[in-house]
Every structure is written in C-alpha cells, then in structure tokens.
C-alpha cells in the first residue's frame, strides 16, 4: 500500500493532470525540495506555470488563492506548518469563508488550504500544535482531515475538483509515513464506510459527501463503547481498540470522521446508539475543543441513550520541545485505554 504521503502526492498530480485550472501556491515548493513535507514533490517540474513558490506571507498567499478561486481557478494553498494558519486567520474567517454567503450566493470560492498539524516530533510550541479547533466554528468553512484509514488521496482530490466551498485540509504530520489502511490490510478489524449525505447542511448543496469509517475488532460482540477520533489520533485509537479487546475484553467501536465541519455526526450517533458510551479522542488541547462539540451533539441526538462520556485530549498547555515532556502533554494510546477502562 502507498503511504499517506504518497497517496496525497499522487492525488495532487492527478488533480493537476485532470484539470488545467488547478494552481498550487506555497512556500519552498520548487523541486528538488518539493515543499517542507514533500507532499507537493514533482509538481513544480511537471507544471512550472501552475506552481507558485511564494514569499513567507501566509495571509497573502491565502488571499491570492481566494482571488484565483473567485475567478474560476481551483487553487490549492500549502501552509508549511498548521501553526502558521493563525497568520491567515483574517483571510480565512473574514474573507474566504464569508464571500459566498455575504455576496448573496453570487460567488463561490473553491479553494483548498492544506496544512500539516500535530506534534510528537519535538518541534516545540510553535511548530507542533493542533490548531484546527480554532477554525471549526467558522460558518462557510469546511474542514476535512484524512486519517490512514480509507483513501486520503481521494479525499483531497475530491476537495480540489468536486467541491465549490473553501476547505481547510488538515494533515497530521505523523500520518505521512503510515501506510494507507483498507479493509484488506486491516486484518484484525472489520471496516465499514459510512457515507453521510450532507444535503441537510447549509452551503453543502452539490458538494460530495465525505466518508466516515467504522472499525471494530473482527468477531467482536456488540460494542460497549464508541470511540470517536480523526487524523492521527484515529490510528492511536485503533491501537487502543485492539489492546482493549485482546488484553481487557472491552469491545469498542471506533468511528473515524473525515469531515469535522460542518458537523457530520451520524456515524458517531449510530454507533453510540448501540454502545451507550462515547469516548472522544483528539490531539488538540482539551478545553473548548472538537470533542466537546461531538459530545454535545451526541447528547442532544441520543438523549438518555447516551449513558456516559469521556474525553481524551492534549493538556491545556503549549506543546513542549523536550521528548518526555511532549509525551506527557499529548494524548497516547495508554490514555485512551485507561479512559475506556474507566467507562466500562
């Protein structure tokens, strides 16, 4: 199987080949470097007229991308580290996300902003964060996050070519080197895809449904716990599900979301309906995060069907550089196992 990095890189090449309106903007994109994490490798050689290696101007390049999208191109902006999205917050919140609605649906902004997030590489407080929670409540902004399960490249390809809305595409750095996992490679697990139809969501008209995935240990009885996660935490949660089953005889169902905003919780609700317990797992800091929203939505949807909830997340601290300190601040497999055991 290809790695997540290869899957994303191939998707970019495929999008460039299939549509002459695709443009790429970002820092240090030129080959042989091909971007800091190499997701954009090869594009500047194959399409020199359509790849802009840019000055270090995150707000500016998001704005340039937005202008291109307004006028019929399909730009992709690479932000080198997700931490730097804060520099582009005005473009994202006040311009890119608003244009379509504010201009009375007379325009669209089919712009994809991709960026790596996350820690565990010792990069320290300004290069290790998981900041997407700050962009989750922005009306008009769709937020996607691939995990190793499913088809990360297809998610990106469809974001670039089949979606008319602006999209923030969050790639956890530790996903890049993982192999893409499908039903065949996940031998110990049963994998099913849950395709939500986002037709009931404002601004989603005509845009493709994004998949959610449901994983359980093969042959497991009815789950007593649902774990909801996305991105790299979905991988840690998968390992936790395995440990829980084989070492503690606790059978959990893992629901992996690829669309975080607008909220698509049907797969979480369906599983939690069966298990009655919901554990939400994220790499972002705990307070006011994604997990809190999932729990609130599930409580509203399921009422007394939701008997118990817990959250696993990073501590409310900056991400430290020192490896042992970083490991203490960020959530690990053991934290998920431990919290799950407290629930069942």
């Amino acid at each position: 199987m290809p790695s997540v990095l290869e899957s994303l890189n191939r998707a970019l090449h495929r999008a460039f080949a299939d549509c002459p309106a695709v443009i790429l903007l970002g820092e240090d994109l030129l080959d042989p470097y091909g971007g800091a994490f190499k997701v954009s490798k090869g594009l500047s050689s194959a399409y020199p007229q359509r790849v802009f290696t840019t000055p270090i101007s995150e707000a500016g390049i998001c704005g340039v991308g937005a202008g291109m999208a307004l006028r019929g191109l399909r730009p992709v902006v690479e932000i080198m580290f997700g931490d730097f999205l804060a520099l582009a917050a005005d473009q994202l919140i006040n311009h890119i996300a608003k244009f379509r609605w504010m201009y009375n649906d007379q325009v669209s902004v089919p712009l994809v902003i991709r960026t790596p997030m996350g820690g565990r590489r010792g990069y320290g407080p300004t290069h290790s964060q998981t900041l997407e929670k700050h962009f989750l409540g922005v009306p008009g902004l769709r937020l996607l996050a691939p995990s190793a399960v499913g088809n990360p490249g297809e998610l990106l390809y469809r974001a670039i070519l089949e979606t008319e809305e602006p999209i923030l595409f969050i790639e956890n750095k530790l996903l890049y080197l993982l192999p893409v996992l499908d039903g065949l490679t996940l031998q110990d697990f049963h994998l099913s895809e849950f395709s939500a139809q986002p037709t009931d969501q404002p601004g989603a008209n005509g845009n493709p449904a994004t998949p959610a995935y449901q994983l359980s240990v093969r042959g497991a009885p009815k789950p007593s716990l649902t774990i909801a996660a996305y991105g790299y935490m979905a991988e840690l949660a998968r390992q936790a599900v395995h440990t829980l089953a084989y070492q503690h005889e606790i059978f959990a169902e893992l629901v992996i979301l690829t669309q975080l905003a607008p909220f698509q919780g049907e797969a979480v609700f369906a599983s939690t309906q069966r298990s009655g317990r919901l554990l939400v797992v994220e790499e972002g800091s705990l307070s006011f995060g994604w997990g809190a929203e999932v729990v609130a939505r599930a409580a509203q949807a399921l009422g007394t069907g939701l008997r118990q909830v817990r959250r696993v997340a990073a501590q409310d601290l900056p991400v430290p550089a020192s490896a042992p300190l970083e490991a203490r601040v960020l959530p690990a497999v053991e934290d998920i196992v431990q919290q799950a055991k407290l629930m069942v």
């Binding site: 802009f52 707000a59 500016g60 704005g63 291109m68 006028r71 311009h95």
Partner: protein
C-alpha cells in the same frame, strides 16, 4: 463616455446619494453603519471612467462612490443599506459588502489587497485581458497584509492598479499620527511604478489614472496611483472630530463638483442637477418600499 457632462453626472450622482444617506440616517431608515464618499467623488469617477466591462474592481468600507462610479444602481445600493431583499446582496452585506458584476467590496482594511492580486493573476492566467483595480485609503497603510500583496503583485507581474486615496484622516486619526515616511516610497520599495496627484479635479485625475491603467494593460504588471484628497463628511455618521472651519475651507477649495462645474453651461448643469435630484429621490423612495428579505 467621459465628456464634461457625463463626468459631472457621475460626480453629482454620488454626491446626492451620499447626502441622502446622511440626511436620512437619523430617521432610522438605514440599518447598521455607513461611510460616505463626500469630497472624494472625483477619485472614483476619474479612475473608473477608464474601465472595460471585463475589468475587476475591489473596494473597501468607503465603497458607495466606487460602486456608483462603476455603474451600480442607486436603488439597489439604497436597498442594501436598508437591509431590503432587492439590495445589491439581498441585504446580507450592507453598506460595506457589495458584489455586482466585477465589483467587490469588503470591510476589513487591507484584506482584499492580496485577493485582488489573486484575481489579477487569475485573469492573466486565463488570458482574458481584464485588469484589476483595488482602492485603499491611508488607514490601510497600517495593515501588514497590504505589503504582502504589493510584494507578490510585483514578483509575479499581476496586472493590477493600486489606488491609494489619502483623505488625510483614518476615522479620527490624522495621517501624520499613523503614517511614517512617504506613501509613494511604500510602493516604490516593491518596484511598483507610482504616480501621485494632489487634486480634486476629475479631469486631472482622469488623465493620470488613464496613463496608469494604460501602463498596467501594456505591461501586464502592477502600477500605483496615490490620490491626495479630502473627506468632507464624518468617518461614519456623527464621528467627525475635526475643526468645522477646516472642513469648510476644504469645501471651498477642494470640492470636485465646484471644480468641474465651471466647465459646464450653467443651464445645462441646472437641468442635470434636477434630473439627478429626482433620480436619487425616486430610487430612495422605491428602495424604502421594497420588502425585507425572508429570514
């Protein structure tokens, strides 16, 4: 069309529109806020008279004059300010957030500058021949993203004209308290050829803007135009902290309508005034009778 009479028609249309806004704001017919273009009319008219249909315009919070000079409908603009369904954006945007044809405005200073550069690059990529004009005021010189936009426009030869209207005051802060150094030097630092004019004469502005736009079209690269001007009205509605005598002096010496009307036949001008007074009054009344949008 840029003969004396048609330029005057545009100047006076903006003047009457903005006067009508300020006169009626206290009556509660408009919602939210507004930023009028009184005193600066010659900038928009002088620059935008050169526009071709495919060209794109980006404007800021003080956008009514740009919108009307672009050819926007006064009734649709009144309706937008009143939050009515027939407004330019169905009442969603209000005074500062307009989009019609190739005209866009937004209310956060500097934010549209890189977007305008992106639009200019997209049109160049598509070989449409369209150029882009982006208006900003002296207040926007404090926003960092403007300089990111200037840098990229120059690096990538974006066919864009930056029009910097220096009305010498940002809300209540005079330019000398907010802008260090020379305005022109900011553009020249990015190797963007810059023209500068201190005038309220629409013909002078028209002429210099024409040369700047011609250069953008011919070279497929950015140009800048600095227009020193005067804001006669408050920043918004009732927030003018300037000495009234100073404003009176500006109105005596720097009124674009006075400057230009001396070129017209008085009888013809009076007839045109009556026609536009009537047109604006009718547009205002018609907008007032429009329904509010469905929630």
């Amino acid at each position: 069309m840029s003969d004396h009479l048609s330029l005057y028609r545009k100047l006076y249309t903006i003047r009457r529109f903005e006067e009508t806004v300020l006169e009626n704001f206290p009556k509660g017919v408009f919602s939210g806020t507004t930023h009028t273009y009184l005193g600066q009319e010659a900038d928009a008219v002088g620059v935008l008279s050169h526009l071709k249909p495919e060209d794109v315009v980006f404007s800021n919070h003080r956008c009514h004059g740009h919108f009307l000079a672009y050819g926007g409908d006064p009734q649709a603009l009144f309706a937008e300010l009143m939050g009515r369904a027939g407004g330019v954006c169905g009442g969603r945007g209000g005074s500062q957030h307009l989009h019609w044809r190739n005209f866009y405005s937004s209310g956060v200073l500097g934010g549209v500058a890189p977007i305008a550069v992106g639009v200019a690059l997209a049109e160049k990529f598509k070989e449409s021949g369209a150029i882009t004009i982006v208006f900003a005021g002296d207040g926007t010189l404090g926003e960092g993203v403007l300089y990111e936009a200037l840098n990229m426009a120059s690096l990538w030869s974006a066919p864009v004209l930056f029009v910097l209207e220096n009305n010498r005051i940002a809300q209540t802060t005079p330019v000398n308290l907010a802008v260090a150094g020379e305005i022109a030097a900011r553009f020249e630092a990015f190797a963007i050829p810059t023209r500068e004019l201190d005038s309220s004469d629409v013909l002078e502005i028209h002429s210099v803007a024409g040369a700047a736009l011609q250069a953008v079209r011919a070279e497929g690269a950015p140009q800048a135009l600095i227009l020193h001007t005067c804001r006669f009205g408050p920043h918004s509605k009732g927030d003018d902290t300037r000495n009234p005598q100073e404003i009176d002096r500006m109105k005596q010496t720097r009124d674009p309508l006075k400057v230009h009307s001396s070129r017209l036949n008085p009888a013809e001008r009076a007839g045109l005034d009556r026609e536009i007074d009537e047109l604006i009054a009718t547009a205002f009344q018609a907008a007032l009778e429009e329904p509010f949008p469905d929630a």
